[in-house]
Structure formats: structure tokens, C-alpha cells
């Protein structure tokens, strides 16, 4: 069904021409016989081209998955984020669920609606803005909130800040949102909703946490409050050997060989396989950071070996007969115990 040989109908063919490679990539994320799982991302994908789900979009999804249009239509009409009509360049959503509502969200929405001259799920004549009132957007500590293309754009919104935002958008500007990434178009956002990485350099780094998010943890830090007795090396009671230990003697792929060489090699083995010294393993870094005055622990040593010494003899015997695997083993055998397919 989901092969590249599909003959597309005239309705679906134009979309297929542009979207088929991406569609196949989406389908490949799911188990081979479960391609229908790709339907939600595929509907997002269709919106990258059309801005909404048209009958042609439904046909494309149906044909690429080998299901019928009624099945696709039933899903497309169920979810709020699949739009039935063409949308604007920006989707502006105002939360009007109870908490945002009583803190002013309803007023923000009403004034925005009046200012733009459009109602819920309607688009301005210039094609810039689609307005909607949204249900809880999971940012109640910033209420009331406004999002642009689902990224948090205004916190503690007022009618003035909201109108200011849409005016800038209509003038072709892209103001910096409060906590989301830099603004893109709604169609571009759909690419990400379909599960693809944000192609914009630096976008993933945008958006700092706001004060409400950090309030509790900042209070704790300011007053030196921490949870005591956190010891990373607290032993876990072992009643049987781990698969890794049972696998001892079999080995890891090349990638893991390099990795284990970096992080947990046996002393004699280190010089050969460790890459250049710029790669520090996390334990070393943690140790350095926590205790900057102490000398850096010997890297060729003991990253994985600072396990506590078992206190009872039986456990000690068990531990010594079950050394952790993963280092210094001959390459070649990739047998895996977890492969149960």
C-alpha cells in the first residue's frame, strides 16, 4: 500500500508530486503494517501546502495510506487543528477557558475580534490573520495567553498588547514572541507538526523560561533549599544478572565500541580506541563541575566502575562473577537479546 508505485488520482496527484517523499518518510516512522498511524502527521503535512485540509488533501492521504476517503474525512473533521477552510498566514489563538477568561482573556478576544472584524475561525480580508478562541493552552500561570501559530506570543495579555501584536503581523513584521520560537507562517509550522525538525537555524534555542515557570525552583535556590541525601550511586538491588552481563563476550557495534571506549574502558585498552582528548565523558565533567578544585579523575579509569562495594558476601560474589559488559570485547557478534520480532 505504502509504496512509491501508487497511482494517484487526478485529485491527489498535484499534492503527491510535492509531498510524496515527505509522506513516505512519515510512514516509515511507524511499524510496517501500521501505516495508518501516519494519518495525523500526514494531515498536518497536507496543511503545509494548502493551509487547510481540502478534499484533495483527503484524497492524497487516503491514497497514500490505501484507505478510503471517508475514513480520512472522519479523522480530519474530528480534530480542531485540521482546518476546513483556507487560513491566514498567522493563526492567532486567544485562550478563553475559565481561568484565562476571568483574568481578561474573553475581553482580549472580544476586542481583537471587533478590531479585526472577524469572528472565531475566520480570516481577515488581507489573508494575514485567522482568529480563534482556544481552550486551555496549558500556560495558566501566564494567563491570559495568546499564541501565534501555536507558539506562546503574549503572556498576561491585554486588549492593547494583543491588538499591537496583530497590527505588527498585518504590517508584515514578525515580533518576537514571549516564550515560543521566532514566528513563522502557519504553513511552515505544519511541517514541524508533521514531525520534521524546525529547519530554521537557531529556532530551537529561542524562548527563555518565564518567571512563573521558574518561581518555585528559584525560591528554593535563593534560600538554599535542596532535597538532601541525593546520592547518584545508590545501589539497585540485583536479583539476577542484566542482559548486558549475560551478553558478556558478545559485542557491540562499532559505534558503541567508540562510545564505550570514551566512557568506560578498561585501563589497558584506553590509549588505542579513545578519540582525541576533547571528548570528556559526562561523569568526568560532572565531577569537575561539582568539585572544581579536585584533580580531574583519571579518564582511563573508572567512569563505570565507581559502583559501591556490596556489603554482603553473597552479593559481592555475584557482582564479581557478573562484570559489566561493553568494553574491550572483540567485535563481530551483533546478536541482541531484545530483538523479539
Amino acid at each position: 500500500m505504502t509504496n512509491t508505485e501508487v497511482e494517484f488520482s487526478p485529485a491527489a496527484a498535484p499534492l503527491a508530486q510535492r509531498l510524496l517523499p515527505a509522506a513516505l518518510e512519515i510512514i516509515a516512522r511507524y511499524p510496517a503494517d501500521r501505516s495508518r498511524s501516519a494519518l495525523l502527521p500526514l494531515l498536518h503535512l497536507v496543511q503545509t501546502e494548502e493551509g487547510h485540509v481540502s478534499p484533495n488533501g483527503v484524497a492524497f492521504c487516503a491514497e497514500v495510506l490505501g484507505i478510503n476517503k471517508a475514513q480520512v474525512g472522519a479523522v480530519a473533521t474530528f480534530y480542531t487543528m485540521y482546518k476546513r477552510r483556507p487560513t491566514g498566514e498567522y493563526l492567532v489563538s486567544v485562550c478563553t477557558n475559565t481561568l484565562c477568561n476571568v483574568l481578561g482573556g474573553q475581553e482580549v478576544y472580544d476586542q481583537l475580534s471587533e478590531h479585526l472584524g472577524v469572528g472565531h475561525d475566520e480570516t481577515t480580508g488581507d489573508g494575514r490573520i485567522t482568529l480563534e478562541h482556544a481552550e486551555c493552552l496549558a500556560a495558566c500561570d501566564y494567563a491570559p495567553v495568546v499564541t501565534v501559530n501555536y507558539d506562546f506570543a503574549i503572556d498576561e495579555a491585554t486588549p492593547d498588547t494583543a491588538i499591537g501584536l496583530v497590527e505588527k503581523l498585518r504590517a508584515g513584521e514578525r515580533p518576537t514572541p514571549s516564550r515560543g520560537a521566532r514566528i513563522c507562517s502557519l504553513k511552515e509550522m505544519q511541517t514541524q507538526l508533521a514531525g520534521f525538525a524546525d529547519p530554521r537555524e537557531g529556532a530551537v534555542a529561542d524562548g527563555l523560561a518565564g518567571a512563573p515557570t521558574l518561581r518555585g525552583v528559584t525560591l528554593a535556590q535563593e534560600h538554599g533549599v535542596a532535597v538532601p541525601d541525593f546520592n547518584l550511586d545508590t545501589p539497585i538491588t540485583k536479583t539476577k544478572p542484566s542482559p548486558r552481563e549475560e551478553n558478556k563476550g558478545k559485542v557491540a557495534t562499532v559505534v558503541d565500541k567508540v562510545k564505550s571506549a570514551v566512557s568506560s574502558v578498561t585501563p589497558g585498552h584506553a590509549g588505542k580506541t579513545t578519540r582525541a582528548g576533547d571528548v570528556k565523558d559526562p561523569q568526568t565533567r560532572t565531577a569537575e563541575q561539582r568539585n572544581p578544585d579536585a584533580s580531574t579523575p583519571d579518564k582511563t579509569g573508572t567512569a563505570d566502575e565507581k559502583k559501591p562495594v556490596p556489603s554482603n558476601p553473597a552479593e559481592a560474589a555475584g557482582t564479581s562473577s557478573n562484570q559489566p559488559a561493553g568494553d574491550g570485547k572483540p567485535a563481530g557478534d551483533t546478536a541482541r537479546t531484545e530483538e523479539a520480532k
Binding site: 487543528m81 515560543g180 518555585g216 559526562p282
Partner: protein
């Protein structure tokens, strides 16, 4: 605004929120420096059964609302059955008032991924899915980036760290349906269908995703796992109460001086949390609040000393839920608040079960009539009767969630309803909003 006292500050337990203070903790190298992936290395040296026992010993309970013991849930997965197993993480955060998972995934996405790898290893799943709410675009952006980083590092993919364990992790965006936060509706949605709940049994542990054994856990639950693996069950139990162990992120919003996320041991009270948040907003007095989102029965000022753990809130007649505490004051109207929630439940009802689909439709209309000054005494009976008929008569909790604010406000704030009906409170809705209401 008042300063919290020292003994109240001591109740903060920054564990899951701690890395949020490092602005770059979402990057692999920073995460690794902050103990990241140390738990994974440790876990892979342990037999999966011993990990499940560890989680059982810790007393960890689900952070998504129901509070089911996590270790028990993992233990339900039949082993050696020859079927594929799946881990599905419920990141469809949308319960009104709840805002703890989005910041966690945005500012510390690797902790969720590390927890997911450990959990998958424990239940012997080679595929895991994070079903994230569609609107949560920035959190999804960070998660997808983190998955790519973890893959490049060998923490995901084949033969993770030489353990022989394989895992594929996919971040799957939803499309704006609150109902998909219900675990079986989520599974249907993930399979590419309308998100409608399934009849249980069979439970997901036996027949979940693709009819295979599946664990569905909340973001907070899975993100707790690495800390338990590192610090141990006893350390975890040093926080919280005997039956509700560990820290919990309390989301405070509404009429308080400093809304925000406060991570404390389970069992803290609203009074203490309000003190941490700098008190009520000036000029506001506490009137009613949700202990864990709008789907949990409302509580009032008299419940301010209720212990916020699973048992304490249940004893007060409500549910701990997602510890999303929306705080309303004497200047907020419980009837109006309930109406707005019902509009939400009406919109989000998936339509599968008649009581929820039809009941919410009619309750919304009854509320509109009351709020426009046209209500009658009979409307109160209609509301009570409708709510009683929704509660417990639908496949999933959405129906119950819709009925609870109605029943609890009728119980605690009947006078506020009567004030509309008898004309002492001015109508809140205009006739324009009433088109088609009668």
C-alpha cells in the same frame, strides 16, 4: 505580597524542576554535565525485572491524574509473550489549569527521553511514542531536537550503549483534541483514528497500542524515573507521604500574587502553597479552587488545609488529579466559571457516549439561560439530574469531569445560582449570546 516563612520554604523539593534553572539544559552536552544519562548507564547494568521492582519500591504513582502505582503498571506487561511491547507517553497536556508538562519538555526534554529509554528497557519495549499535544509546538521542537541528539549519541537506536537493547522513539504531535489525553482515546488517535475511548477491560497492559501490551504513562511519571534510578527508592520516599511518595509539581494559577510552578513533596496544603506564592492577590479572598484541574470537584476556602496527596484530597471529596490548582476569589463567580468549563467539555466531548454528548449540550444551554437572567428553579434540578446521569455513565473520565464542577458548585454555591434566578446578580450573558439557547 508576603515573604514565605523559612519552614514553608523548606517544603520545596526541587528535583524535576531543578534543571530548568540552566537555560541550556535542553542541549545534550549541558544535560550530560548535569547528571544526564547517568541513570541510563546505571539502569542498563540491572535486569529489567529489578528495575520494575525498584519503581514498585519507590511507591511512584502516576502523575497524570489517576495516581496508579507505576511499578505495578509496568509489572502487568506480560513477559515472554512473543508480542511487541510499547511505551506510550501521554504528553497531551490540556486539562484546564495544568501546565507542568509543557515546561518540563521544553526546558528539560532529555530527562523525559532518558526516562523513556529506561522505562522501555524495563518493560522490554523496542518502540516508544511520545504523544504530544499538537499545540505544544515549542516543547515538541525541543523534544525532536533532543531525540536527534540522543540518537547521534547512541542513547537511542540499536544496541544502546552495548547493552543489546534497541529502542526507536517517535515524537507524535496530536491535532487539538482534549479527549486524547484519555489513555485509550490516545491510543486510538495514535493508530490514526478519531480519538475515542475504548471499553476496558482489556486494559492497555494486555491490549493497548496495535492490540499489544502497552504502558501509557504521563510525562511527569516517566521524567521521575531517572531520579529514582539514581537516588534510590528510599531517597524518593523521603519526600511526600507514606502512600503518596515523592515530589510533585504544583501548578498554581489565578488570584494569587505569584502564579507559577512549585515543586513540593506530596501532601503540602493549599495554605502553604499560597504562602509560597506570596499570598493571595491584594484585595482578593479565596473562594473556590480546583485541586487538580477542572475535572476534579471544586473545593472551597474551608478545604485550605487539606493535604494535597492522593488520600488527603480524596478524603475531602475530590481528586488530586494533575495538581493544577486554579485559585478563584470572592470576585469570581462560580456559576460563570462552571458555565465556561462546560462549554469546554461540550466542545471536547468526542460524541461516543450519549450521556456525555447530549448531557453537556443541554447543561451548557441551561447555564446560558441562568447566566442571562432567565433561569428558573427547575433549571437547578435539571442540572443536578443531568450531572447525575452523566457521572459514571460514560466510557471515560471526560463525562465525570464535566459533571463534577456542576455537582460541586451546586453543593457549595447554591446561593450564587439563586442570586441569578432571583435577580440579585446582574445577568452575565447578553441575549445575543443566547441564540438557539432555548
Amino acid at each position: 505580597m508576603t515573604q514565605p516563612r523559612r519552614e514553608i520554604l523548606q517544603k520545596l523539593t526541587p528535583v524535576l524542576t531543578k534543571r530548568w534553572l540552566s537555560p541550556d539544559a535542553w542541549k545534550m552536552d549541558v544535560y550530560e554535565r548535569l547528571d544526564g544519562y547517568a541513570a541510563l548507564r546505571k539502569a542498563l547494568d540491572v535486569h529489567p525485572d529489578d528495575l520494575i521492582q525498584l519503581i514498585k519500591d519507590s511507591g511512584l504513582r502516576g502523575r497524570g491524574g489517576a495516581g496508579f502505582p507505576t511499578g505495578l503498571k509496568w509489572g502487568f506487561i506480560p513477559q515472554g509473550d512473543g508480542k511487541p511491547h510499547y511505551l506510550v507517553i501521554n504528553a497531551d497536556e490540556g486539562e484546564p489549569g495544568t501546565c507542568k508538562d509543557l515546561p518540563l519538555m521544553t526546558y528539560d526534554p532529555h530527562s523525559l527521553i532518558e526516562g523513556a529509554i529506561i522505562a522501555s528497557y524495563a518493560i522490554r519495549a523496542s518502540r516508544a511514542f511520545i504523544y504530544i499535544r499538537g499545540e505544544a509546538v515549542h516543547a515538541a521542537r525541543r523534544l525532536r531536537n533532543a531525540v536527534a541528539e540522543a540518537k547521534a549519541k547512541g542513547y537511542l537506536g540499536e544496541n544502546i550503549l552495548g547493552s543489546g537493547f534497541d529502542l526507536e522513539l517517535v515524537v507524535h504531535s496530536g491535532a487539538g483534541a482534549y479527549i486524547c489525553g484519555e489513555e485509550t482515546a490516545l491510543l486510538d488517535s495514535l493508530e490514526g483514528f478519531r480519538g475515542q475511548p475504548r471499553l476496558r477491560p482489556p486494559f492497555p497492559a494486555i491490549a493497548g497500542l496495535y492490540a499489544s501490551p502497552t504502558v501509557v504513562n504521563n510525562v511527569g511519571t516517566i521524567a521521575s524515573v531517572p531520579y529514582i534510578v539514581l537516588g534510590g527508592a528510599d531517597w524518593w520516599k523521603s519526600m511526600g507521604t507514606e502512600k503518596s511518595s515523592g515530589p510533585m509539581i504544583y501548578s498554581l494559577s489565578g488570584r494569587i500574587a505569584n502564579p507559577g510552578q512549585y515543586e513540593c513533596g506530596l501532601g503540602i496544603t493549599l495554605r502553604e502553597l499560597i504562602e509560597l506564592a506570596g499570598g493571595m492577590k491584594p484585595g482578593h479572598t479565596l473562594k473556590f479552587w480546583t485541586p487538580g484541574g477542572s475535572s476534579t470537584p471544586l473545593l472551597t476556602a474551608e478545604h485550605i488545609d487539606t493535604a494535597m496527596d492522593f488520600e488527603g484530597v480524596a478524603a475531602a471529596g475530590s481528586i488530586l488529579g494533575t495538581t493544577a490548582m486554579q485559585i478563584f476569589s470572592d470576585q469570581d463567580c462560580p456559576v460563570y466559571a462552571t458555565w465556561r468549563w462546560l462549554e469546554f467539555y461540550h466542545h471536547e466531548s468526542c460524541g461516543k457516549c450519549t450521556p456525555c454528548r447530549e448531557g453537556n449540550y443541554w447543561m451548557v444551554r441551561t447555564y446560558r439561560r441562568i447566566l442571562s437572567g432567565e433561569g428558573t428553579y427547575a433549571d437547578l434540578d435539571t442540572l443536578q439530574d443531568t450531572a447525575d446521569n452523566i457521572f459514571g455513565r460514560s466510557f471515560c473520565g471526560l463525562g465525570d469531569g464535566a459533571a463534577t464542577p456542576v455537582m460541586s458548585t451546586l453543593k457549595f454555591f447554591r446561593q450564587d445560582y439563586l442570586d441569578y434566578i432571583e435577580g440579585r446578580t446582574a445577568p452575565r450573558l447578553s441575549a445575543k449570546a443566547l441564540v438557539g439557547a432555548h
